[in-house]
């Protein structure tokens, strides 16, 4: 395979502690190597450019039934956005719900190489994997949703953590999933009764269990299994004024808990898109930022990680397994809405949404996401996301970086808002003069996310032995003075190497890469009870047979990458 030597770039690698030093990076046989290991390398001149490991996205909705329904549901999202195929590049289009091809190309152009699909309904795992298979370049994994699953609710109601763990093991293997996702625990199930769980102590109808018990129980099962990633939580009461208290209640459930994995992660829970969970006030008029209270807690407790869920002020398509929230949203904006119940497992809803800079609440939401990142003490634990496409498309990451790295850019955006002064009054953004460095951005987008996912042995750094995923951006940290340069450079990578292959050069796609699908195969002690329960539920309730449920590696997955864990000890 080709060898590359990336010379003289400004390297940012928080794992190795390299902060903008000019260091050469060598790639051979798909991996990062010492430059002495090269024999006949192609030299890439990265002088005046920024070099980082390939980006790792911890949370985005990029494949699966609700993403695809979103594509069908919004023909107007694709109007005027199609690009015809050229060279190896296939025809691709869409803005907030791009096609699979555009998803792969756009991430690659931003220098990202690994992306996690954040909610996979187990019943539709086959569909999810088919879409991931068709998404070029990027390595992907998918989190099956567990927070409203009948097996989990029934086992945890009786405190059966070992049975829950055996079920998780079976489901991860059957659906080729990566981690335990929890969306509005109990609330999505309650939605089947037209109800919701607005606090972590609201009982789930019929099951007689609370969201707190579900989250705590799944955390215990997750640590029992020693999974690479922690539980991945979207807690109750998303998007409502005053909900920061629910968020803190959720955080506090895990106080004193320690991770038991062997993958180097330090958190027992990841809380996703925290921007949507940091609202003060009790109505839309007095809704205000509580990012400071949230970050005080996060900064003081090192056993949890978060991602920000930054609002990008675009027209987008919200889609979530939080069914009651989507109903709430369509009542608010009267735009089209679709909703689906997924048998024993979960549900999902979709509503288009316009985050207008002329709406005060949207401005405050925009401010909160940035505040979370700017108030963070440890950016290894605070990640950059837009909860794509919920708070905005992932293609805006470079714009979010611009806002995080430049107070001037933030003030310009505030000035462009119709209610800029009110947004300033009900948020903290104007009082924060911090500007993040590229080193901190590398933590938020690579080093930290890879560690949080338990993938620090593969991604997130340029340490020899890791995957040959390297992004080179045309950005000179010594001379750059215009914030717009950040957005331009980080949206159009000068080079991207994926598993040692050059896939992007000057923003143009050269190769569809050899994308992999990551999944976790965790071995547990035989558990006849759980296997009997599974068989019984399929006979009694599921519309498909058990034989038509499993995702087989062959046929559904291109280049499966199995991560093995032994939890039998």
């Amino acid at each position: 395979m080709a060898e590359y030597l990336i010379k003289n770039g400004f390297v940012f690698d928080p794992v190795l502690g390299i902060n903008g030093d000019k260091t050469d990076i060598a790639i051979k046989d798909g991996k990062i190597v010492e430059s002495t290991a090269l024999s006949s390398a192609t030299v890439i001149d990265a002088a005046g450019k920024t070099v980082m490991a390939g980006g790792v996205d911890v949370h985005a909705h990029v494949a699966g039934p609700k993403v695809n329904a979103g594509r069908n549901f919004r023909p107007e999202d694709k109007l005027f956005t199609y690009e015809s195929g050229k060279g190896v590049r296939r025809m691709a289009g869409g803005f907030s719900v791009p096609t699979t091809f555009k998803t792969g190309y756009s991430y690659a152009r931003m220098g990202y190489t690994t992306v996690m699909e954040a909610a996979m309904p187990p019943l539709y795992a086959r569909h999810t994997h088919e879409e991931m298979r068709d998404t070029p370049i990027i390595d992907e994994g998918a989190y099956p949703v567990f927070g409203n699953n009948w097996f989990v609710l029934e086992y945890l109601k009786n405190n059966e953590v070992e049975n829950t763990a055996a079920y998780i093991s079976w489901l991860l293997r059957t659906t080729k999933g990566y981690a335990v996702k929890i969306v509005n625990p109990g609330g999505t199930e309650a939605w089947g009764w037209g109800l919701n769980c607005n606090s972590v102590h609201d009982p789930v109808p019929y099951f007689d269990i609370t969201p707190a018990q579900i989250m705590k129980g799944l955390m215990e099962a997750n640590e029992y299994l020693k999974l690479p990633h922690s539980i991945h939580i979207h807690t109750n009461n998303l998007g409502n004024p005053g909900n920061y208290e629910t968020t803190l209640d959720t955080f506090k459930l895990f106080e004193g808990e320690k991770p038991k994995d062997e993958f180097g992660r330090q958190q027992v829970m990841h809380h996703t898109h925290v921007q949507f969970h940091s609202y003060g006030g009790d109505n839309w008029g007095n809704m205000e930022s509580k990012a400071d209270t949230i970050m005080d807690y996060v900064n003081a407790h090192d056993n949890l990680t978060i991602d920000i869920g930054q609002v990008t002020l675009d027209e987008t398509t919200t889609m979530t397994a939080d069914g009651p929230f989507e109903h709430h949203l369509t009542e608010l904006n009267h735009l089209k809405w679709t909703n689906r119940d997924v048998e024993l497992e979960t549900c999902a809803g979709i509503v288009p949404y316009v985050y207008s800079p002329n709406i005060k609440v949207c401005g405050i939401q925009w401010a909160i996401g940035l505040e979370l990142a700017l108030l963070a003490k440890d950016h290894m634990r605070v990640h950059l996301t837009t909860d794509h496409p919920n708070a905005g498309p992932f293609t805006r990451y470079p714009r979010v970086m611009k806002w995080l790295m430049s107070q001037k850019a933030r003030e310009a955006q505030l000035d462009a808002m119709k209610w800029g002064d009110k947004v300033r009054g009900q948020s903290l953004i104007s009082g924060i003069d911090r500007e993040l460095s590229l080193y901190e951005i590398a933590m938020m987008t690579r080093a930290g996310t890879a560690k949080c996912l338990g993938l620090a042995h593969m991604y997130g750094s340029l340490k020899p032995g890791l995957e040959g995923d390297v992004a080179v951006y045309d950005y000179n940290p010594e001379t750059a003075d215009d914030p717009e340069q950040i957005e331009r450079a980080f949206g159009n990578a000068a080079y991207l190497f994926k598993a040692g292959e050059m896939v992007v050069k000057d923003g143009e796609i050269l190769s569809n890469g050899r994308k992999r699908t990551l999944w976790v195969d965790v071995k547990v002690k035989e558990n006849p009870q759980v296997m009997r329960d599974v068989t019984e539920k399929f006979l009694k309730y599921y519309t498909v047979t058990q034989a038509n449920y499993e995702v087989h590696e062959e046929g559904y997955i291109r280049n499966p990458y199995r991560i093995e864990v032994d939890a039998t000890q």
Binding site: P75, E76, P352
Partner: protein, 266 residues
């Protein structure tokens, strides 16, 4: 004002997408440069000069550019798409999407147009001497933002699904219309001087529809309120005023609920 004349030489074998035939694209260009502008026929990219003889030149700006199309162009789509200023005169009939998403200026068609004329229109004037097809002044598929502003006048008849999701502006049809008028409208005015069929104002939240002739089937969601004397597009008459669609959500202004209105002339 400078005039560019396009004379069709041969009808294309397939339909062509001519979204660059606008005063905005022609401004500042010579006849030779205009001939080199791209159009699409099927999956092939061709030049405008392959189908039209071009004479004259573009003005300095879109507003100072007038385009005359000398004859029928029934296999040409998207004429005047997204234009912001200037004028287009089509001396004949055109295919779909004439003046779609136009923002300003004026388009005059002496013949008829096919479907989707004035889709998502944001401003300007679209005048059609003949008939218009379906989805006149409607929203693009899936969108909730139909015609926002501007005026469409059709001297003949129009098809179905006129003004779907209309938010503003005026559509005047001097002849008859087919089913579905102003569906989901949240503003704007539709005047039908001929006869209407069924599904007029279905799911309308706000806006005004005037019908001078007959309505085959009135939507059940409309309630007769009173007779009113009005002047509508130059005609003074007495109209029966109906409010609806009662099945929809309705906002309030100064304590009063806002409904959609249908006025039918006696």
């Amino acid at each position: 004002m400078e005039t560019v004349t396009l004379t069709p030489r041969a009808q294309p074998e397939l339909y062509i997408d001519a979204e660059n035939v606008t005063p905005d694209a022609f401004a500042g260009k010579s006849a030779a440069e205009i001939e080199a502008i791209h159009v699409h026929e099927g999956n092939q990219t061709q030049m405008l000069g392959d189908y039209f003889t071009v004479s004259g030149k573009g003005g300095a700006t879109a507003a100072e550019t007038r385009i005359v199309i000398n004859g029928d162009v029934v296999r040409v789509k998207y004429l005047g798409m997204r234009m912001t200023a200037g004028e287009i005169e089509i001396k004949g009939s055109a295919d779909m999407y004439v003046g779609a998403w136009m923002e300003g200026g004026k388009i005059h068609v002496t013949g008829s147009v096919d479907a989707f004329a004035g889709t998502g229109m944001k401003g300007g004037d679209l005048i059609i001497d003949g008939n218009a097809g379906n989805y006149l002044g409607a929203a693009y598929r899936g969108d909730w933002r139909g015609m926002q502003s501007g005026t469409i006048r059709v001297k003949g008849n129009a098809g179905s699904d006129i003004g779907t999701f209309m938010n503003g502006g005026t559509i005047i049809i001097e002849g008859d219309v087919d089913v579905h008028v102003g569906t989901h409208a949240e503003g704007g005015t539709i005047i039908v001087k001929g006869n209407g069929k069924s599904k007029i104002g279905g799911q309308m939240v706000k806006g005004d529809i005037y019908v001078f002739g007959t309505i085959d089937v009135m939507m059940p969601g409309y309630i007769y309120r009173k007779d009113v004397d009005l002047e509508v597009d130059g005609t003074k008459a007495t109209f029966a005023h109906y409010e609806g669609d009662m099945g929809e959500r309705h906002g309030k202004r100064k304590g009063q609920v806002i409904y959609g209105n249908i006025y039918q002339k006696y």
